[in-house]
Amino acid sequence: MSFELIKDILIATVPLLVIFPSLFAFTTWMERKALARIQNRIGPNKTGIPCTRIGLFGLGQPAADGIKMIFKEDIVPRGADRLFHLLAPILALIPAMLILCFLPLEFPWGKFMSAPVQAFLLDSAVIFFFAISGLTTLAIFMAGWASRNKYSLLGGMRAVAQMVSYEIPLVLSAVVVVMMVGSLNAKEIADAQTGFNWFVFTPWGLAAFVIFFIAALAETNRSPFDLPEAESEIIAGYFTEYSGFKFALFFLGEYIAMFAISGLAVTLFLGAGDGPFLTSAPWLSVVWFIVKIFGLIAVMIWLRGTLPRLRVDQLMAFAWKFLLPISIFNILLAGLSHFALDARVAATSDAILYSIHAPHTHSGAVNHAPPKLVAGQKEAVMGALHYTDKNWVGAMEWFFKAALKGHVQSRSILAWWFGIWAMGLTVLYVMAKGLDNVSRSEVKPREYLYAE
């Protein structure tokens, strides 16, 4: 193994292993404080610097929990499958950590690498992301099975069923963005969204983002979908028999998976690392990326403070009868309207560009006074230029300015653009309403024929 290769690998992986667990510690504190404030209490505020009275808003709480977890006794039930009981938390953590490297985080110390050893440059990074994030399902099943206890097996089976059925809408909603960008490479997806061209600002992107976020909540067993680890129903589900450090590993694994999934949501829909002032300080992209991740995590915590837990059958009906058809329909809608819109706007923008060249070519070499510019034509041309290099948010801005000046063609483009927006959202809303009635309809409990 050449030294260069080892150096590159270390530069690529060690920062992730350091940054995200420390962000995990911060998030546990943030979650407990936010949940407390939602319920009109104060939340941890006494554990500051150890052995002193300075409780700096409870920031020492994650450290205190960590130490507690290390010293707690690690009980393994007698009948349990000892090997798998140990392996399950590790398997829960490895994929969560692994998928972190598929997020297009351009750390500033990346330039010390000789060859760019970065996983998000992989050609099929997004597929690898979903493939490896599917492994946590296995870990949860292994935990449920290995603890040799009915409740955890029940929790394990429920978790597996939930995660498998929510993985499909998750992947399908990502297909929309991959279809637009035309590549699975995370870096290309990020570059396609520079300059506020985030996919969330397109109607199908917004719908896909909502579906992705809901499915991501279910994938990481969070807030309304946290049935597998429901304390009230099945005594903390699959990690009932876990205590001490193994429990902390599950906890860490779940949070890192939450980071990773919201990281992917940011990459696909919220323009990874794209924000203001990037030209002056390119390293800011990592900061914007992490700020957006924390935004999504704040919403997850907010949802956890608000929504009650879903029953198993509601959970399943929601996934199969609501999310899945909507995400497939969204792909169809995205394909139709984007390429239809693309053709329509491209035609008019070419017409705009053509309009300024046309007079010269007709009148041959004789140059005479510059062509009489139609009002607002300059802005329209700028918009068209922006549109050609796929910066449609900038293009729409210029078209808007041109339309203000009364430029006819940019008015038609804007009308077409907002028409697509209105039509897309209303069609999706009507379909969602319809599906909502279907998935809410009376579910006959199926009597099981086998295993009498």
């Binding site: 290769l5 798998f84 099929s124 690898f128 492994l135 024929l449 086998y450 009498e452």
Partner: protein, 173 residues
């Protein structure tokens, strides 16, 4: 040099994973060994620069087929194989003989005799090319595949649901 080591490590893991999956009494251990086997194979695909296939392998085999097998084991009997019944079928000796015979007399001579290419051409894995290929010459195959998968989906649901109540069940209920 690193490729040699990784190849041999993955090969050993794959063979061990397959053997444990086949010989293990406890089915759950068998399934997890099988998944290690799939993971090792995915590593081999990466080594052979078939990047997309490695990703699909993990997604389909470990993510879906593995869990399907787990569900199937959960729904059938004798999961931990701790009862004394023999796990091998009656004529298991002939099974061994047949497998070894196929290996020794059929496959290995075939590999020795064939003149195999020694050098690997440089190749940049790109999913775009795979996508274009899937669209131009193989688009019909893709549609047939989609049809097949839907049929399999519906078939699996129909078969495992047991359809309307059979005679025996109506007696029991």
């Amino acid at each position: 040099m690193t490729q040699e080591i990784t190849f041999w490590v993955l090969a050993v893991i794959a063979v061990l994973g397959a053997l444990v999956a086949v010989r293990r009494r406890n089915l759950i251990h068998g399934v997890f060994a099988l998944m290690i086997f799939f993971a090792a194979l995915s590593g081999l695909f990466l080594l052979l620069l078939a990047e997309f296939i490695a990703a699909v392998q993990i997604l389909v085999y470990i993510g879906a087929v593995g869990i399907l097998l787990l569900f199937a084991i959960m729904l059938t009997e004798r999961v931990t194989g701790d009862d004394a019944r023999d796990i091998t079928s009656r004529g298991s000796f002939w099974g061994w003989a047949a497998a070894l015979a196929v290996l020794v007399f059929l496959l290995l001579p075939a590999i020795q005799s064939a003149d195999l290419a020694q050098t690997a051409q440089p190749h940049i894995p790109s999913v775009k090319a795979l996508g274009h290929k899937l669209m131009e010459p193989y688009v019909v195959t893709l549609e047939v595949l989609a049809l097949l998968l839907t049929a399999a989906l519906i078939g699996a649901v129909a078969a495992s649901q047991g359809g309307e109540k059979t005679k025996e069940d109506s007696d029991d209920a």
